[in-house]
Symmetry: C2
Subunit: 411 residues, 2 copies
Amino acid sequence: MPALALETYPLWQEAKGVLPLISMKEAESLILSSLEHLPAEHINADQAYQRVLRHPIFADRPAPPFDRVMMDGIAIHSSSTSKSFIISGTQAAGAPALHLNQPDHCLEVMTGAPLPSGTDTVIPVEQIEVSGQRATLLPDTTFEPGQFIHRTGSDCAANTTVLPEGIKLGPMELAIAASVGATEMSVSKLPSIHLLTTGDEVIDPTETPTDFQIRRSHPSALIPLIEGNKLGKVKHLHLADDPDAIEQALASSLEQADVLILTGGISMGKFDWVAPLLRKHLGEPHFHGVAQRPGKPFAYWKSHGSPSVFALPGNPVSVTATATRYLLPALMTMLGMKPTAQRAPLAGDFLWSAPLTGILPYTMQDGCITLHPPRNSGDYLTLAGKQGFAVVSEPKKQYTAGTLLDIYPFF
Amino acid sequence: MPALALETYPLWQEAKGVLPLISMKEAESLILSSLEHLPAEHINADQAYQRVLRHPIFADRPAPPFDRVMMDGIAIHSSSTSKSFIISGTQAAGAPALHLNQPDHCLEVMTGAPLPSGTDTVIPVEQIEVSGQRATLLPDTTFEPGQFIHRTGSDCAANTTVLPEGIKLGPMELAIAASVGATEMSVSKLPSIHLLTTGDEVIDPTETPTDFQIRRSHPSALIPLIEGNKLGKVKHLHLADDPDAIEQALASSLEQADVLILTGGISMGKFDWVAPLLRKHLGEPHFHGVAQRPGKPFAYWKSHGSPSVFALPGNPVSVTATATRYLLPALMTMLGMKPTAQRAPLAGDFLWSAPLTGILPYTMQDGCITLHPPRNSGDYLTLAGKQGFAVVSEPKKQYTAGTLLDIYPFF
């Protein structure tokens, strides 16, 4: 591959002090401003869990849609001077509203029933004594006229927006959609994501490694991280450190995918073909090299009509840290969500002695986070039981307890 | 149904001041101590996302399994006095370790490769000048003997537990499992959950409601809340407020399900058949009536050999609050997780004026929660965009900013 002049490549120039690394914020901003929104698709509500809504959903009726009885008991008119009422009927939920026309009568009413016409007040069963066809208020019972009635439209008027565009449809949102009859909706199409892992030392987890091989773990983390959060559909292919194989797979994925993720082969090794080949196909990257640990060799390409290409460094901690920090927010943005920065305070003092911005696994307790720095970017065992990655943006700094850090949870 | 003496029923007695409501903590404790662990099943790792592991997973080899090169560069022996080395070969990742036997020679090494024998130090490419077959240290280059080598077993020894029993398998845990070759595992079987919704006023969301009907929303919330968190498989059936229909469905579900959820029909209305029929089949409940808002009529049954039966009050806020507060932790416990209480501090002062423990929707920002009390237990529109429910345990209390509350997130 003599055409690939690795030595003239940006990361090498940075290594020689020619080119500065860019900051995490610059990298994020370059990615987010390059993204294109995904098209929408029409689906049934029972397929909509965790999908991103592409239009507001409105109340088709006021909420509640009728004057709704809120307690089991009796309905009376508050102008009555009686303390004891003849029960002239029973107002069940799911039945049309009855009518009361005698001031010394009442109607038994059930929670969820429409308020009978001619009544304006509900007395709960706790405050009455029923004997035969007569209900008598217990001694000292007082009531507010209008009590225990959930009035038509008191939660919202018809045509109010109950779910805004861009919201992720969780359990509560799906219940709200059902309640207004939105049994179909338009949501963002899931991006087609190709994951190309590289590395001659990496074998399938079902195979037995030799002394100098390791098992492949990137897809086991990235596929659930993406698909479990309903941020895309992932197709995975592993490639040897062979420029022809990589170029062929790249060419095909650049045609087919909305997003392309590569892991490994992006640093300064002699067999790191990913960057030179991507440059050949897509020209210069938006950036290559970020002042962060782990994940310094991270590169990103996006040219018009091409997929967004995330080339992640190959160590397992680097892969999961950069994917959580950059890839997931990018996918959310493509899907039409407005991912707001989440922050949480440090539980204790923390010394970050590295000369780069850190991306560190955290656990949260009582609203505060504890950082668990891996010993190195290969030390993925540290990640068990962690909840996401937090950013210590300033290098070589003593952080004090309570400092708010940006956090990127796995869910 | 003359056999069902509703008037002798516990909640009625409580209403008349005979029987006290139990506290939230008592209810929780009665539920948790009644639960049975689910059996395990053997599955492939690619099906294991969010499942609960039923045995520890051990490292099959030390991690890393060999002295792993951590930087692209050259490997030398630190005892050499040379500053310039003849490159006698290239050590790729995925190839057996080479051997260096001349002190003024070096081997090119790539990240992830095994350290060549006869070397003990890696010099990164940033610190060398390569010319032809010779690598020369840049002026002022110093190094620590042993640097940039990820030593065999330095993350963990062989047979170390890398994932404990009872952990939920998220993306990071699945990557760790893959890395040690755990491509199959034993996980807790998902409970078979029957959801029986009731209410004559409730129609299918695809139908057009009359003036006195509402659309069914409980399954739209509960199914994703349970299945989206991989806590069970839900089968749903809607029942009219008809004792024969309810009894028939109950009898069948009590035979088939591990967990039975009923919504509605559990309060003191004339058509509230759920509790009397459950009493007929299962005897007295563990409790019926909890000093909480919403969800006061909540009841729970569990007799030997029967499913755990959660009878939730029918208002949508009551259903989601009690399911999130009690049902999800119960399912986690049945699955073998040890759900630790999560807490978060209040963002601002909060007055809880109700005479019962509150279960209120919250949002979290910067590690602190803000409560969003619904206007009433029918006001489910408040739930849009909320992250879970928080508990204000003491009635009629002014809570100050910073007070830690128990939280129950939806995810």
